[in-house]
């Protein structure tokens, strides 16, 4: 099939970007979206033009590197699918496809379709872990975890940190990402000791990193390639309230809470 692409091109973070139109003739429906971009890039290189820069790595939907907004939807039209697993059979001959980077204040564009998502790393750094040093763990079966808790923790832990939730949200909120980690660790016995400090610290960092608030649009869940439920945001809100009322995690202590 023959397609037209309207692609966001931006030289670097300081430059202004704009859309460019490219022809994509003879596209095989079995190709993935990124393989289609590979083919276009080969043509651009032969034509002495700068290839389109985009983040990608595993190309099997688990590393979370790819981050394309396709026709206004993060990762494109298919439910529960990363852009690298989106195949061209979902498009039709003659389509014009618009490809943009994630759009969010917290994710500045680095080049073309590549954005800086290090804000997510800083949120995890502020508390998204259990502070256990290597070597100090007890025997693994010492603390049984009810199967439903383990399963629910796994549901939230499936987050790949791609940032589609932020790109999809009209407020560019990072709450689904933060809620996924907060919930995973709050559901498990290992996460209890730091439970209050963790949620207060991670939410504070999220706010400091210029993410917006949640106003219940549920766009994040719709865009999430791992289909993580907005129910976890509700859980995080409860965790936050609970922690705010607890002595150990009173707001004044949050800054150094996790040290």
């Amino acid at each position: 099939m023959d397609l037209k692409l309207k692609v966001w091109r931006q030289k670097d973070s300081a430059s202004k970007g704009k859309f460019e139109i490219y022809n994509a003739p003879n596209i095989n429906p079995h190709m993935s979206f990124l393989e289609m971009l590979d083919v276009i890039n080969e043509d651009l290189i032969h034509a002495n033009q700068d290839p389109i820069a985009f983040d990608h790595d595993c190309r099997e939907g688990i590393c979370g590197a790819c981050s394309l907004t396709v026709d206004g939807k993060p990762h494109g039209p298919e439910k529960g699918t990363t852009a690298c697993q989106l195949h061209m059979r979902h498009f039709k001959h003659g389509n014009t496809i618009t490809v943009e980077p994630w759009r969010a204040k917290a994710f500045p564009v680095i080049k073309d379709l590549i954005v800086d998502r290090s804000a997510f790393d800083r949120i995890i750094e502020s508390g998204g872990y259990v502070s256990v040093n290597t070597g100090s763990a007890p025997e693994a079966n010492m603390s049984p975890v009810p199967k439903h808790a383990a399963d629910s923790a796994m549901d939230s832990a499936a987050c790949i940190g791609c940032g589609a939730c932020v790109a999809a949200c009209p407020n560019a909120s990072g709450m689904l990402f933060v809620a996924a980690k907060v919930s995973q660790l709050a559901l498990l016995p290992q996460g209890q000791v730091e439970r209050e400090k963790r949620v207060l610290s991670m939410v504070r960092t999220m706010d400091d990193e210029n993410f917006g608030n949640c106003t219940n649009h549920y766009e994040c869940e719709a865009a999430c390639p791992k289909e993580i439920s907005v129910g976890f945001i509700a859980k995080m809100n409860r965790e936050y309230l609970r922690a705010s009322l607890c002595d150990s995690g009173s707001a004044g202590n949050t800054k150094d809470a996790v040290n």
Partner: protein
């Protein structure tokens, strides 16, 4: 030269304990004076960086991805082995040790493997304490499943995303250390060379992938945890960024490269569908627990699978290996798939595929059980192929997946260059000629959490901290060489793209040095590689400049190294005129077509020593001796 692996004396099961006692320690107050560079943030790198930081060392951590959380360990699906024996089915440290040695076709170092089995249990403890959401039974205790190459159930798993969950555990430990300012993290930064001063590793040269800036980083020791070289074959299950550059350039600086010909072709991947294909996708081997593998008995049978009656199907693994059946080890399963396809009994459009069929398991257990066990894998398959495996059997074919070879290391995981440590898939040490499923995660975490933190102290305790700075003349010299290579790549402005060369060298390796190898083919490959190299350096087209984010330039450096490395791979495959594990020489097989080892001639590790661009590398050997297992023909019948 005969290599000394510095294995401690004593009984096998006491060696590691004794060694831990005998090694020198760095006192708590002195640890902060030492700086350690860790390159790579997969399971091995992230666990090492976090653990070293917790001990009090200053750590600089590097990865080429935008975040350390995206290293390719994340894609491991099936699980991680440990000798916990929770199912009470006869497992033990000794059995895990034996299975791993046998699985590796008796080409691994006994003492390393035994230590790995000993440490395996602590890894599970550590990961559970971090909040890794392993699968659990209704009792709340940890669940186990079986995996290829073993008759006990010792594999711990988190749905089909075990690698992801273990990596996030290690990443979060690393994030904590970054927060506490014990680790300085450099994402989007690629190591381009190793700096060796007076014979010892003292730092690295890196390129900032956003600005193009070339930087020098000095340290008291350098740890490479940069993964394997499967992408030399272009099509593999590795992530697109995986490359051999860090280990190959360390090899060019004097580190020995061991057993490069030991490559693992994984039996259960989605078949190739076209020329544009950029990578292959693995379907976890755990699917073989419930899926049955078959092809039609009749050559060229083009009927849809549902229409082929039971009597006209050949469940060839169950037929040939009745005691392991569909759980035969990877190398054996892959070769069997190739055999039936070579006979013209392959399925799918290309004829390069076999069926993996869940119909019986669905009949026995119900679709919901199969869904619970494998839903994410089955979804992944559906997305890629547009077919529904609950209704029609999956089509699978072998693909390059893992590389057992890597930089040579001694018992302490130190290469022959003092101060250069190599962990995880990047080293050669534990899997011999074939790795068993669910053992890569175990090895990466054993190296990073529980081995390196002890052994590196022994080296640092004998080293004065901070003696060599990044302004040492050797750093400046190597920085210049790195810049020169980049300028050279950018100035060629030829006619062929980097990917085009990558596909060419990859196809050559797959054709002549893939699942089956022979002298004639390897010699042909070796004759062709210099021509490809020459054309690359005169006709490659790399667009853009160094001073910006330039993915074409990043790839060009990696492919240049793949081309050079391909020669080493073929050379090693040629000299090892025996079959063992993943290395199958057609000249060396039993009457039944199984791999035939030659223990009198090849019971050694080959460790290649670089001799300069225009010279053949020198082959050094580390003899392997087996005192605790009997060298036997590896049978899974």
């Amino acid at each position: 030269m005969t290599l000394d692996a510095r294995v401690p004396a004593g009984l096998l099961h006491e060696k590691w304990d004794n060694h831990k006692f005998n090694m020198k320690l760095v006192s708590p107050a002195n640890k902060r004076k030492y700086k350690v560079i860790v390159v790579g943030t997969g399971l091995a790198g992230a666990s090492a960086a976090a653990s070293l930081a917790e001990l009090g060392y200053q750590v600089d951590s590097f990865c080429f991805q935008d975040s350390p959380r995206r290293a390719h360990s994340i894609a491991a699906q099936g699980g991680i082995n440990a000798a916990k024996n929770y199912p009470n089915d006869g497992d033990s440290i000794r059995r895990l040790f034996y299975d791993t040695i046998k699985g590796g076709d008796f080409r691994a170092r006994e003492e390393n493997v035994y230590r790995l089995a000993q440490i395996s249990n602590s890894i599970i403890d550590q990961c559970v304490a971090q909040g890794v959401p392993f699968a659990r039974e209704y009792s709340g205790y940890l669940a186990n499943r079986s995996f290829g190459g073993s008759q006990v159930s010792r594999t711990f798993y988190a749905r089909g995303q075990t690698g992801q969950q273990l990596l996030l555990g290690a990443y979060q430990a690393l994030a904590r250390a970054i927060h506490l300012k014990q680790v300085t993290m450099y994402p989007r930064t690629e190591m381009l060379d190793l700096v060796v001063v007076d014979g010892a590793a003292k730092g690295i040269i890196v390129r900032d992938l956003i600005t193009g800036q070339i930087r020098r980083h000095a340290a008291d020791a350098v740890v490479l945890a940069t993964g394997g070289y499967g992408n030399a074959f272009y099509l593999s299950t590795n992530a697109k960024g995986c490359n051999v550059t860090a280990t190959y350039r360390a090899y060019k600086r004097g580190a020995f490269f061991a057993n490069p010909c030991y490559t693992q072709i994984h039996p259960t991947c989605i078949p190739v569908s076209g020329d544009y294909q950029s990578k292959l996708t693995l379907m976890s081997e755990s699917l073989r627990n419930d899926g049955r593998i078959w092809v039609p008995k009749q050559k060229g049978d083009k009927r849809p699978p549902q229409e082929i009656p039971e009597a006209e199907r050949d469940y060839y693994l169950e037929r040939k290996y009745p005691s392991y059946g569909n759980l035969a080890p990877r190398d054996i399963s892959s070769r069997s798939a190739k055999e039936v396809c070579d006979e013209g009994r392959g399925v799918g459009e290309t004829g390069l595929g076999v069926y993996l069929d869940f119909a019986d398991a669905i009949k026995r257990l119900g679709e919901s059980v199969i869904r619970e066990r494998y839903s994410n894998l089955i979804q992944m398959y559906e997305k890629i192929t547009g077919e529904n495996p609950y209704k029609v059997p999956m089509r699978i074919y072998p693909a390059v997946h893992y590389t057992m070879g890597g930089l040579w290391v001694d018992y302490n995981l130190m290469s022959n260059l003092p101060g250069l440590y190599v962990l995880g898939e990047a080293n050669f040490s534990d899997h011999g000629a074939n790795r068993l499923g669910a053992s890569a995660l175990m090895q990466g975490l054993a190296d990073g959490y529980f081995i390196l933190p002890y052994t590196i102290g022994d080296y640092l305790a004998r080293t004065k901290p901070g003696v060599i700075s990044a302004s040492h003349p050797e750093f400046l010299k190597i920085e210049t060489e790195v810049k020169d290579q980049i300028n050279r790549l950018l100035s060629i402005n030829g006619k062929r793209t980097v990917d085009d060369f990558h596909r060419q060298i990859g196809k050559l390796l797959w054709d002549y040095c893939g699942m089956a190898r022979n002298e004639l083919g390897l010699k042909q490959a070796l004759a062709q590689i210099p021509g490809i190299r020459k054309e690359f350096w005169s006709n490659v087209k790399v667009s853009g400049s160094n001073e910006s984010l330039n993915q074409s330039l990043e790839k060009a450096g990696r492919v240049a190294d793949f081309i050079d490395f391909a020669e080493l791979l073929c050379l090693d495959a040629l000299q090892r005129a025996e079959s063992c594990g993943g290395h199958f020489r057609t000249e060396s097989q039993t009457s039944e077509g199984e791999a035939k080892r030659d223990d009198t001639k090849f019971c050694y590790v080959s460790a290649w020593e670089y001799q300069g661009a225009d010279c053949s590398p020198r082959l050094n050997q580390e003899p392997l001796s087996f005192e605790n297992v009997h060298l036997a023909e590896r049978s899974y019948k």
